[in-house]
């Protein structure tokens, strides 16, 4: 089936099965491999993208459900003001180790800061607990979010 997907502000037409998750459309059809496959069951958050500004798990988001909505991926997050701050904070705090989960972490953190510019630790817990980091960078993720938030002020 043909679907019009708006990805990173560009309209892309794809011809794929309607139940195909956006994750595989991004990676295998559109070549946007920054969004990662981790679990396929919305448990790890590595595939987090924004759907109309909301963080969603692309591994379970079907192309049929995403068509007609704005999809934003890690490749374009630097073009949002908050996203750029988050990326910088991630570098400044040296959050990243293997980096495989970090696309999802940055997308989740950006969505959090877009909704709550000055999040408390509890807000961070709530927004980030769904994103697994196997390298254990959690301590620094928290620090980096606070740092990005302080830039917001």
């Amino acid at each position: 089936m043909r679907f019009d997907l708006k990805v990173n502000n560009v309209l892309r037409e794809v011809d794929v099965p309607p139940d195909m998750p956006v994750l595989w459309v991004l990676r295998d059809i559109l070549g946007l491999t920054g969004t990662k496959y981790g679990c396929g069951v919305a448990q790890c958050g590595a595939c987090t993208v924004h759907l109309d500004g909301q963080p969603v798990r692309a591994c379970l988001l079907t192309v049929a459900a995403a068509a007609g909505h704005d999809i934003l991926t890690i490749e374009a997050i630097e073009h949002t003001e908050t996203g750029a701050k988050v990326q910088q904070a991630w570098l400044d705090e040296e959050v990243i180790q293997c980096g495989y989960c970090q696309s999802g972490q940055i997308m989740a953190a950006t969505a959090l800061l877009q909704q709550i510019p000055q999040p408390t630790d509890a807000d961070i817990d709530e927004a980030m607990a769904g994103n697994i980091c196997r390298c254990g960078t959690y301590v620094r993720i928290r620090k980096a979010i606070h740092k990005a938030a302080s830039h917001e002020a």
Binding site: D19, Q54, R57, L60, A64, A65, A129, G130
Partner: protein, 416 residues
Amino acid sequence: MMSLRSLKHVLRGATAVALSFYSGMAFADSAPGAEADTRPELIKRGEYLFRAADCAACHVAPKGGSLTGGRPFVLPFGTIFAVNITPDKQTGIGNYTDSEWLKMLREGVGRGGKHLYPVMPYTAYTLLSDADALAIKAYLFSVKPENVPAPQNKLYFPFNQRWSMIFWNWLNNPNKRFQPDPAQSEQWNRGAYLTEALGHCSQCHTPRTITYGLSSKAYAGAVQVGWRAYNLTSDKQHGLGGWTDEQLTSYLSTGKASGKGAASGPMAEAVEHGLRYMTQADIAAMVTYLRSLPPIAEGPVAQVMSPQADHALSDVARRGQGLFAQACAGCHLSDGRGRQSEWAALAGAHSVSDPAADNLVQVLRSGTALETGQGRVFMPGFSKAYTEEELAAIASYVLAHFGNTQTDIKPSAFKN
């Protein structure tokens, strides 16, 4: 709204139908091994009815694929396994004549006089017309025969004595065909037939008597195999009285309704294997019929999600909040709207304001799945990696947060 009288009318049927049963036998009977009826239009109609009767939900093999049975049903009186309903002659239904088929489907007496157990909803199928029952048979005889014997049932005495079912049937099976109520519309009667005979909705949604027969509280809701089938009567608080037609239609045909949550467990199976294949006209007929069920004020009441509920979280629910953020919010979002799809929406679902939390416990423990037009939606079970205390905390939080129901679920609810 339907009167109680007309419901009874439908269920009791009439003697006239019994006659047609015997006359049907006269021309439909065939010797074992005789050619099955292979008219394509009959098989096609049979397939539709097979879906409407939701046969696959029970008879599909646990690992998926074929109708070779094997699924266990753990009941108060033992464990019963679904049988192979492919036309295999040794292990399936390949030797059934038409009359044997009708006797099995409607009287619960299988080939050779073996009594079925009422897990098989023959007390509902008894309302089926000859033509429909035999169309289903024609369809089943068109699928590929597979030689897969069903596991042995494990029943406790005296239930392991199949003759005991004679008494049970006398008590519980009216053995009558569906009789339209002339006072009701054609649509209503179609809905009644679909709901009562084919859909056998009452089998789960009507409370059972002490002998496992259906009680007189039609559709007041009941717990079956650990899952609560909710009150379907037109009661505004406890039943479907507060649902719009659109919500009901959506729920039946897709397994979800905006603001009412999604089907899980056995209801998800009913949607997956049966309801989602039904025509919009038939779904509308069922809605019409369900709307007419007399109200019964019983069972849990679906609550509206309240933003204030989190202020009063218990310690247990507070712990659940953190766990929900880890393992659940990825799909469900804490705002109740669902993240990936409406199937993940929790706000408004009956199951999240049921203080007994039967279905909540089930989905957390064992998960649920549903094939939809947009692909498969599913939730895995979480009992392997989370403690009973943690699962109870999650359930308590879900009840409070989404269902405005402050109650601490006991960890023992998650014991196997």
